[in-house]
Amino acid sequence: MKLALDDGELALREEARAFLAANVPDPAQIPHDFDAKVEFLRAWQARLHGAGLVGLSWPEAYGGRGASLTEQIVVNAEMARAGAPIVIGNVGLDVVGPSLVEQGTDAQKARFLDRILSGADIWCQGFSEVGAGSDLAALRTKARITDDGGFVIDGHKIWTSYAQHAQWCAVLARTDANAPAHRGISYILVDMSSAGIEIRPLVQVTGDAEFSEVYFDAVEVPAENLLGELNGGWAIAMHTLSHERGWYGVGRQAVLRVLLDGMVEEARALRRGGRPALEDEDVRATLARAHIGLEVLKHQGLRSVGQMIADGHPGLESSVDKVVLGRVEQEMAAAGLDALGAHAALGAGAPAGVDPEAWQHVYLYARAGSVYGGSAQIQKNIIAERILGLPRGAR
């Protein structure tokens, strides 16, 4: 029961703080053009890697520091506080990398892990399909097994973040059409420069083209790119998704905290009824409730992390964390808009220090919080059936 940072966490925090103070780029330097931005962020990741500040919780043998989950969280929080740009390779670092560490062959580890850390390879995740969102096991992308044990992939993935910038994609594909849905899926590592891959960027409501549709037309993949067992992909994917849910909330909390602190300052600059909005009781109460939500998100996350460290793996509670995150993020984003009053839906002409468009972006982006990584409704089914023991029924 130690809320205070231990010596290792403190040392790491000081190290990260010192590096970030000297190295975080001025936000004005970050290009607006998405492609240029990706290159910029890749270079940023390489610098972080040079300082040993990415993949901290990876084993030392694979280029990490073998840091504890809490040390990783401390560093993430420092990055948020310092206003550091996002780490572009997060799918590789948080999702694919840990799966490679656990399930990969020596050759796969040697080939991929260091390049994930340095940002040389950006990864994307080819899980969701048009007909397989919440019901992921219904996926239809097919990988035909060739005589030499390789694969030929045909299918269509959607909501694939960073696909147009990724060198590699972790694809879930059906390798046994006759097996029950969950048992006929394999986890295949696909080179995005392969012949037969077509990427169609999807513009999000925020205006960013962060994700894409990816079409696979007879894409050939060698046998050595299978991760884990043939037809054993479902367990790997579920494991990484639960890992992602397990402590993602704590990291996200640190980012949201910085945003809310900024909103308090904006509410000082804004006027409502001729007075600073922050002096308005209802605005204060709205921001206070958002603040409370963020704190509880942190408390919930730290409790889950404590449990995860004790058990050695994330438990079903990660579904609770995910619901809390979606709810808190959306309520916070709405609170920000509400505090902005007359300017909330405007752009030009706001008072100095107030940026309604940034908050509109926060609000629009927050809508994804109850959808990605397994929708809130899927998490509630998991909670109801697997935690509360309620009987399964019609969906």
Binding site: M1, K2, A4, V264, A285, A288, V296, R303, L390
Partner: protein, 369 residues
């Protein structure tokens, strides 16, 4: 930097679960509802078990341990003075000195009820009209307090009163001359509330806390706030457990109602509420135990969030039961009453949200944390 509980605390939790289920079944709360409640055995056992003293010393249980006990008291809607006594002990310790009653309260040996709320005064401690005035070497206490829990069964009352324009506290033996207990009917019958009239009650100076430069009262009230939050979470959570059990058994349309997604999601949301509330309670209690600089804020967060969450949880539970939980004979409303009562004590959600709003406004971004 993580939130965990120790083996000893886990053990305390499990002992509390068994003991309170045994000592305070919901039938005891119901007896209070019917006006024939008798908590003598429960009171005695809590004393024997040393639970009034949990967290006072460096006992390895801490305020977290107290919250675990309070959570279980809530789950049984138990008529106890546990939380009040824990708070009173901390204020009595600030009074100090060698007065015997004060010393007994300070170590958790004397069950004590807090007398704070008045017709025009609440848990912000503002607006108090009860007075504590000098009278020779002693002080004299006058006023009317409401919502004094377990008042007929405690050894002492710790009364908030105004002295020289400041809040002050007076420790009064329950049977002192000038103390009159009046009917105090309240929503939660097992809280066993009384209206307390104090008329010319003599208070030796050694039993009064006048001025609180060290902030002992604030710290004590924070313990009360987080423990009461735990009590509310416990009550709400127990109601949810009953509802889940019911939803597995009760059939409509040829299937257990718990298999219907509409009810599943209602209960899953309630589960998220109770877990997040419990996380906030454990965190705030740990912050108090560790002397964290942000403990006051953590307590306000926990109390505000838990108050709203606990009510949502118990309301979801009632909805699952349908009409049956709307009847006097069903136990759910005993828990509902405890949730609503706990929500108010030591400051409601509005009070704590307002305090947090003021802190946010006063804080400048970029200040060191």
């Amino acid at each position: 930097m993580k939130l965990t509980i120790s083996e000893d605390q886990r053990e305390l939790q499990s002992v509390a679960r068994e003991m309170l289920a045994d000592l305070a079944p919901l039938s005891l709360a119901r007896a209070f509802l019917e006006g024939k409640g008798d908590a003598t055995t429960l009171d005695q056992q809590l004393g024997y078990l040393g639970w009034y003293a949990v967290g006072l010393e460096d006992d390895g249980f801490g305020v977290q341990g107290l919250c675990m006990l309070a959570e279980r008291c809530g789950a049984q809607a138990a008529p106890t003075a546990l939380v009040d006594t824990a708070v009173a002990a901390r204020i009595a310790a600030a009074i100090g000195g060698d007065d015997e009653l004060t010393a007994r309260v300070a170590v958790g040996e004397a069950a004590t009820a807090l007398a704070v709320v008045e017709a025009g005064a609440d848990w912000t401690l503002a607006g108090v009209e009860a007075t504590l005035r000098a009278a020779g070497d002693d002080l004299v206490l006058d006023g009317v307090k409401v919502g004094v829990q377990a008042a007929p069964r405690v050894d002492a009352l710790l009364v908030l009163a105004e002295h020289a324009g400041e809040p002050a506290w007076a420790l009064v033996p329950a049977e002192a001359a000038g103390v009159t207990l009046l009917d105090g009917h309240a929503l939660d019958p097992a809280a066993d509330c009384r209206v307390v009239e104090l008329s010319g009650v003599t208070v030796p100076a050694a039993r009064a806390l006048v001025g609180d430069d060290a902030g002992a009262v604030e710290r004590a009230l924070r313990v009360g706030a987080v423990a009461t939050a735990a009590e509310g979470v416990g009550a709400a959570s127990a109601a949810l457990d009953l509802a889940i059990e019911y939803a597995r058994e009760r059939e409509q349309f040829g299937a257990p109602i718990g298999s219907f997604q509409a009810l599943k999601h209602l209960m899953a949301d309630a589960h998220v509420d109770r877990e997040s509330a419990w996380s906030s309670v454990l965190y705030a209690a740990a912050a108090l135990d560790e002397g964290d600089a942000e403990a006051a804020e953590a307590v306000a967060v926990a109390k505000a969030w838990s108050a709203r969450a606990s009510r949502a949880v118990v309301e979801a539970a009632l909805q699952v039961f349908g009409g049956i939980a709307f009847t006097w004979e069903h136990d759910a409303h005993l828990l509902q009453r405890r949730v609503l009562a706990a929500e108010r004590r030591f400051g409601d959600a509005i009070q704590h949200e307002r305090a947090l709003g003021a802190r946010l406004a006063a804080r400048r971004v970029g200040a060191p944390t």
